[in-house]
Symmetry: C2
Subunit: 211 residues, 2 copies
């Protein structure tokens, strides 16, 4: 093996102060709406950089979303398959959907799971959040786990078409390894699932009464 050479000035993680980022921060000087469509809300801002210079910043404003990792008693996951027009292909995904106005994460997760798959869940746990597009959107996705699943009728939005199916985590892993599962949020859900099952990333469960 060829030895590699680290930088003499390479900082170790232990020396990082994650509470301080003044040397990196950008301040908003000016903000305007650049485009407002049926769906996309694009902002165009001017920022002051850490060195005092100015720069433009454009990004999509997003209401945020919830992704659900729904686990059947036999350990399989409830998954969806949906055509995603921007990319031009169908994707295997965990159920997910955008927040309605003034909606909390659990309420949004319960609603989206029921509408898209027909399932309600008796126990829920909020794993954490992810930021899928930090370069050009403010979107945040809350990650919720759901167990105690009970089947019911699904209620898709007009114009929404998707397959619902069950898969084991071994099947998801094989699809990801082989390039058949490439949706980033779903891959992050698989990371959370593996770490939780290995006892490394704990979850705090709450019982939820069905509406």
């Amino acid at each position: 093996m060829t030895a590699s050479t680290p930088r003499a000035d390479l900082v170790d993680a232990a020396a990082l102060d994650l509470t301080r980022d003044e040397h990196l921060r950008e301040q908003c000087i000016q903000s305007e709406q650049a485009y407002r469509g049926h769906f996309l809300d694009v902002r165009r801002d001017v920022v002051r950089l850490p060195d005092g210079e100015q720069a433009p910043r454009e990004y999509v404003r997003h209401p945020g979303a919830v992704m659900i990792v729904p686990i059947l008693d036999d350990g399989r996951l409830i998954m969806e398959r949906q055509f995603r027009y921007p990319v031009g292909q169908s994707f295997i995904e965990f159920p997910a959907g955008k927040f309605d106005a003034h909606e909390g994460g659990l309420v949004c997760g319960m609603r989206e799971l029921r509408e898209e798959t027909g399932y309600t869940a008796k126990r829920w746990a909020r794993a954490g959040v992810m930021h899928p597009v930090i370069g050009y959107a403010n979107e945040v996705i809350e990650i919720w786990f759901a167990t105690g699943l009970v089947a019911g009728e699904r209620k898709l939005d007009d114009g929404e078409f998707l397959d619902v199916f069950a898969a084991s985590s071994d099947e998801l892993d094989a699809w990801a390894r082989d390039g058949l599962l490439t949706d980033a949020k779903t891959l992050v859900g698989m990371l959370w699932l593996a770490q939780w099952r290995a006892g490394r990333w704990p979850l705090t469960w709450q019982d939820v009464a069905q509406p």
Copy 2:
């Protein structure tokens, strides 16, 4: 434990034909540029849905990007910390950057790693791709692993400010568990790293001559 009830009509993954998605596909009827800024290129299309109805679709056109998982000989990873204005906070990330015109994945990965961190790498492996924003962008991120790292001078773009540091995968895992690491692409890189180190997702390495 309360028993859950799967849907009687729940399809098992083994019954899925992933090569067929005619019942999900949307066809482009019309396409126009909705907005073109310094950075964002927004399209507004009309599509024909599987049931024959029409619907609008808006999305960001993106050149694609490469993310690098750079591994030192002692197993630590070369990481960055950068302020991301759309979200308004600093993020711990694997090095990444957008494609320049006509640039392949390896060339882009070598360039971005060198410019942002100063490192060159003797061995590279293409793990796969991820799609971070399937709802409203066509962005694809190639995931490359890099070893045999040799330090050099970094060359940041004007107005680019970032910390470079080394961290173990245990440190990354703890940050993700505690909500301090939430960038989706980086979490997907951690999934690939864990699966590769566990011998489950293999990589094919190539030696690369330094320029």
